[in-house]
């Protein structure tokens, strides 16, 4: 008797049957979520979830539903949710994870852990803090798409044009699991007339949110962090001859860090290079008129940004006392012997110098 064909048939059959017996799932039995949010209300964890599922099709278009469950802790709120909606959750489709402000201030470690631990979860899911609570964000009216898709698109595109870091679940987990990655700096979402907008940045010390920064200060922190952020920056510069030009630049920020030890104190030099193009201007004399005008704009913009960065740096060292600008990892190699227990602690004592340079490389097609 020839055994090989028999064994082949048995192996093929086993692969087909065994795989299907225990792990086959009907798509209707799955809860396909695109976003998950965690809120802390009155000392209780309230878990708010928004999902897009084929079960919720309305006239051929996927409709977002918001499911909320509550409990004293994460486990209980999950149990509560399982009673409302017992479908198996597919974490592989999760695109955004939100933390309510109150919960972010009390600590996000266990909520990041539950997502990072699950083998299905996409580590590329975007993370943000809700300015109030997640439920407000999820209930916001969006003009075109469902809230799950809207959040994903806002957070995904943020770093492309608005000097807001795109932070993934992996990035946050790395800041929590090791001291190699500084502290987290997350986008802060607030409801707006057009649905949801990024209202600033949340500064974290370890797993707790310690401050909220907005406007120019947020921009300065992103420049100092240097995660290849880019976006529009307005300028108003005095040109040679006493004229003024105003306009807008689209710039990309790059950071170079040098660290050395001097008398036992880490000395860190940050050099920020802003390169980009002129988008438009509305002054008496165009910066394109002569090279000196362009140099004047570059010089003045660099000086303004340097002032902003120094102010932000002072606040980081004196008030936040954590590492949202991700520089302590450069100081780590300086401690070959007796390194501090948490390298981020050196932020208070380190001497940090910052220098900004601006290079407007293209002036557009109109001269």
């Amino acid at each position: 008797m020839r055994l090989k064909p028999l064994l082949f048939a048995a192996a093929a059959l086993a692969m087909l049957i065994l795989g299907d017996i225990w792990d086959s799932r009907d798509i209707d039995d799955l809860a396909i979520y695109s976003s998950e949010g965690y809120d802390l209300q009155d000392g209780e964890v309230s878990l708010h979830v928004t999902g897009v599922s084929s079960a919720f099709l309305e006239e051929g278009k996927a409709k977002a539903i918001v499911l909320a469950s509550e409990g004293e802790n994460l486990g209980q709120s999950r149990y509560d949710r399982s009673l409302t909606m017992p479908d198996e959750i597919m974490y592989g489709t999760l695109r955004t994870v939100l933390f309510g402000k109150a919960l972010a201030q009390s600590g996000i470690r266990e909520y990041v852990d539950i997502n990072f631990r699950g083998p299905q979860t996409r580590l590329g899911a975007h993370v943000a803090v809700a300015g109030g609570n997640c439920q407000e964000i999820y209930n916001a009216e969006t003009p075109t798409e469902d809230i799950g898709t809207h959040l994903s698109e806002i957070l995904h595109s943020a770093s492309e044009s608005s000097f807001v870091p795109t932070v993934t679940l992996k990035d946050v987990a790395l800041t929590l699991f090791s001291d190699d990655w500084g502290d987290a700096l997350l986008p802060l979402l607030v409801p707006s007339e057009l649905g949801v907008e990024i209202g600033g940045l949340a500064v974290f010390d370890g797993d707790r949110m310690v401050a909220e920064v907005t406007g120019w200060e947020a921009l300065a922190l992103v420049l100092l962090r240097g995660d290849g952020a880019r976006g529009y920056i307005p300028f108003s510069a005095n040109l040679p001859g006493g004229k003024v030009d105003q306009g807008s630049l689209f710039l990309t920020a790059k950071r170079r860090v040098r660290a050395r030890m001097a008398e036992g104190v880490p000395q860190i030099e940050l050099e920020i290079l802003l390169t980009g193009a002129l988008v438009g201007h509305a002054g008496e004399e165009a910066i394109t008129e002569n090279p000196q005008n362009r140099a004047a704009v570059e010089r003045q913009l660099a000086a303004e940004m340097e002032t902003l960065c120094r102010a932000a740096l002072r606040r980081v060292q004196e008030e936040f006392r954590c590492d949202p600008i991700n520089i302590t990892r450069f100081a780590k190699p300086l401690y070959r012997k007796n390194p501090p227990e948490d390298i981020r602690d050196i932020i208070d004592d380190a001497v940090i110098h910052v220098r900004v340079r601006c290079d407007i490389r293209r002036l557009g097609e109109v001269s």
């Binding site: 064994l7 225990w22 590329g124 001291d179 780590k332």
Partner: protein
């Protein structure tokens, strides 16, 4: 025992395939837990041990051309020592194969089939191994040769994770305590157990001289690839994070945020599952070849393969949890030093062996 059935290419593919399995998925974790960002140094050290072991066995095979490993050991050592060595080698191959199946099964359960019972997944792997073993060393060699392209493909899929790499994660370099380096050496050496396959499969090759020349480059390639994977894991995730992750190499892939490629996670896992079955198969095949050689074909090949398959399944089920498997792997590392270094040295230095005419 079959003879002259493996081409040099198949032999090389078999050696390389035996190194890249479930072990490399989890190895960076233990290295970083022991030596932090200097974990790659352990891989470098154990890679050197593996190359030394491979060279010793090559020398032994040249001294006794055409002889199987049991025959070589019986010629070089006294009968009790030879019997014990063969028994230990057989145990090493069987336990290595069973532990590898266990780890591959765990990966499959964790990422692909979470609700399927462990025995069912393991049974599929054992059935496949039984099927492949029917073709003998040549069948296994051909399978390794045919699936050889999967390895560079899986490495290509890992490369995009480089965009998140930070050179500072590797610094400060060479600050680790030497005792920590040596404590993790057995675990790393287990992953380099392929040098033990050299004396098993080299006598089966059509051109042992050419195959012998191909051995060292293969071993060096494996050592270099392991060092690179460890460096990549630390540079992308950081030593602290790597030491927390169960399968850092899979986390490395999951951390890829390049569009399209990030959606290929199931493809990557399936690919690596196929890759990871190969070491189980190769070590099982080595067990069959060794027993076949020791018993001098007194037992039919088919009966032997079924016995080995059954043993593998039982040994795999006997490992009550993955922690026990990891402990076993740690001890197998010590076993590797005994069988990979001490045994060939004893055989080469043995006065009985020296009486044999050298064929160099």
């Amino acid at each position: 025992m079959e003879t002259h059935s493996l081409s040099t290419r198949q032999y090389g593919a078999l050696l390389t395939a035996s190194a890249f399995g479930a072990g490399i998925l989890t190895l960076p974790r233990y290295l970083c837990a022991a030596a932090g960002q200097d974990g790659w140094v352990i891989v470098l050290l154990s890679g050197a041990v593996m190359c030394a072991s491979g060279l010793l066995y090559l020398r032994l095979c040249r001294r006794y051309p055409g002889l199987s490993l049991p025959a070589i050991v019986h010629r070089a050592l006294p009968v009790p020592a030879a019997f014990l060595s063969c028994l230990l080698l057989l145990c090493f191959f069987l336990i290595t194969a069973a532990s590898s199946i266990r780890v591959v099964t765990e990966v499959t359960l964790l990422y692909l089939l979470p609700n399927t019972p462990l025995w069912a997944v393991a049974l599929v792997y054992v059935l496949f191994i039984l099927y492949a073993l029917q073709g003998g060393g040549r069948g296994v060699g051909r399978f390794c040769e045919m699936t050889g392209f999967l390895l560079p493909l899986s490495f290509l899929l890992l490369l995009p994770s480089l965009q998140g790499a930070q050179a500072t994660n590797l610094a400060p370099a060479l600050t680790c305590d030497p005792s920590a380096l040596f404590s993790a050496l057995p675990m790393a050496s287990y992953s380099f157990g392929i040098s033990l396959l050299v004396p098993v499969f080299l006598p089966l090759t059509e051109d042992p001289r050419a195959a012998g020349r191909a051995t060292l480059p293969r071993l060096l390639f494996v050592a270099a690839a392991f060092v690179l994977i460890c460096l990549l894991a630390v540079a992308v995730l950081g030593a602290d994070t790597v030491s927390h992750m169960l399968f850092p190499v899979i986390t490395l892939y999951k951390s890829v945020t390049v569009p399209v490629i990030e959606r290929l996670d199931l493809f990557f896992l399936t690919l690596w599952t196929v890759l990871a079955v190969r070491p189980c198969l190769n070590f099982a095949c080595a067990a069959v070849q060794l027993t076949d050689g020791a018993l001098q074909k007194r037992v039919p090949h088919r009966g032997l393969t079924f016995a080995v398959g059954g043993l593998l399944f039982l040994l795999m089920l006997a490992q009550s949890d993955i922690i026990l498997t990891i402990r076993i792997i740690h001890y197998l590392g010590y076993g590797y030093f005994l069988l990979g270094i001490l045994l060939p040295i004893l055989c080469l230095l043995s006065p009985r062996g020296r009486k044999e005419p050298s064929c160099d």
